[in-house]
Structures are given as structure tokens and as C-alpha cells.
């Protein structure tokens, strides 16, 4: 969570709001923020930390683990229409890489601005050429994307 809090201003510049969710109460969220996270991220956690003690929200998103009574590391990117564009779920011991989330935000926002006329190839980074699906591109992807292009 501190990784997301740390990059919050970058996410805000992209017009992205953040919610974190766990099965801890809002009281525990306050303690965690006040006693630990605020020492890792200046000003503490800037976004709402949601409490879902019965796992109702987690169940709806497929991240509730009833055996452990916890929620798995699920990350959902939701567009302005309320549609889930990307999701990633990890088991607890491995943390996420926020840079990949930011890359996907750039890509999904670019595609949305193009009103679906453009697509981004594997490994696309902002500023790189996109694909314009259509008759002219069939069989010609090799001209714009080659194996090894992904960094």
C-alpha cells in the first residue's frame, strides 16, 4: 500500500483515483497509517482505506480467500464508465509492481482517447507507435512490431 501511496501524485496527474480495501477495520487502518505508513510516505495514505471485514466486496471481485479470511492482492483498473479494463490478482507473498499499472493506465487512456481506433502492441510505452487495426494492418504487424521490441 505504501508503494501506491508513494506514487499517488503520479496517479492523480493521470486523473486516477485510488481506493485500497482489506478486511481490517477502519480503526486498524487509522493505526496502520498513523504508526507505520505515515513514516514511509510523507503525509500518510492520501486515499480512502476501505474496510471489508466480512469480505463482501472481496467476494464480488473474486479476491476473498475464505480459508485464510483475507483478501488476495487484487488490482482492478476501472474506467470512467465503471467498466473494469484490467485486473491482476497475486497470492499474498509477492508484491505488485506499480510501474506496470501506470503503463497500463497510459495505454488504456490512449486507446480510450482514440475511441477504439488504436491498439497498443505488447510492451508498449507512452510515445511509441500504436497499431491501427484495419485491412491495411493485416499481415503487416511485422513492419511495426518485432520480437525483442519489448524492453
Amino acid at each position: 500500500m505504501s508503494a501506491v501511496a508513494d506514487k499517488y501524485s503520479e496517479l492523480q496527474k493521470l486523473g486516477v483515483e485510488v481506493l485500497s480495501v482489506s478486511v481490517d477495520s477502519h480503526f486498524v487502518h487509522k493505526m496502520w497509517n498513523d504508526h507505520e505508513l505515515s513514516r514511509m510516505v510523507e503525509g500518510g495514505v492520501p486515499f480512502p482505506m476501505v474496510s471489508d471485514q466480512a469480505g463482501n466486496v472481496g467476494r464480488a471481485y473474486g479476491v476473498w480467500d475464505e480459508n485464510q479470511g483475507i483478501e488476495l492482492r487484487g488490482r482492478f483498473l476501472i474506467d470512467p464508465d465503471g467498466v473494469i479494463q484490467a485486473m491482476e490478482v497475486l497470492t499474498p507473498p509477492v508484491g505488485r509492481r506499480l510501474a506496470e499499472t501506470v503503463r497500463q493506465i497510459h495505454a488504456f487512456q490512449h486507446v480510450r482517447r482514440s475511441k477504439g481506433t488504436e491498439a497498443t502492441p505488447a510492451g508498449w510505452e507512452p510515445g511509441q507507435p500504436t497499431l491501427k487495426p484495419g485491412p491495411a494492418l493485416v499481415g503487416k504487424v511485422w513492419e511495426v512490431w518485432k520480437p525483442g521490441a519489448e524492453k
Binding site: V57, F76, G82
Partner: protein
């Protein structure tokens, strides 16, 4: 934001269209309870309302209030864990 009075009941989120949290415990075991996973890319995100801690205060968050904005929704195993 105005602080809401805080009771001692377990706080949890409520998925839109389901009975709100609280009240008598469910008569069915947890595993067989209602909600099945509905989250899927390309589909509407399940709406919910849930209590939250935000910048020193306790508040309530509703997913659909974020309509018109991009939103990153992050679940994690628990506070004071290590990753």
C-alpha cells in the same frame, strides 16, 4: 468531511443490490452465501458501499460515486503485513 458516529459492530462493505451488512448472522455457512464472483474485464465493476478511513476521519465510500473518473481499486491481505 464530517465524522460519523462509530459503533462497535464489525464494519464491512455491502455490494449494491444485496442486503446491507449487520443484522442477524447468516443462517447459511459463509462459503455458500450469495455473491458469486462477478468481476470480469470488459464488464461493469460490481458497485459497493463500505466504511473507510481517509485522512484522519471515518467516512463511507461508494464505488459508483467515482463514475466519470479512472479508478484503481487495490485489495491486499492485511494491515501491518510485510509486502
Amino acid at each position: 468531511m464530517a465524522d460519523q458516529p462509530q459503533g462497535c459492530a464489525r464494519v464491512t462493505g455491502t455490494v449494491a443490490g444485496e442486503k446491507p451488512a449487520g443484522g442477524p448472522p447468516p443462517d447459511r455457512p459463509l462459503e455458500t452465501r450469495g455473491t458469486t464472483m462477478t468481476a470480469r474485464v470488459g464488464q461493469k465493476a460490481p458497485d459497493f458501499t463500505a466504511p473507510a478511513y481517509h485522512k484522519g476521519g471515518f467516512t463511507s465510500v461508494k464505488l459508483s460515486d467515482f463514475a466519470g473518473k479512472w479508478l484503481l481499486l487495490c485489495f491486499y491481505p492485511g494491515d501491518f503485513t510485510f509486502v
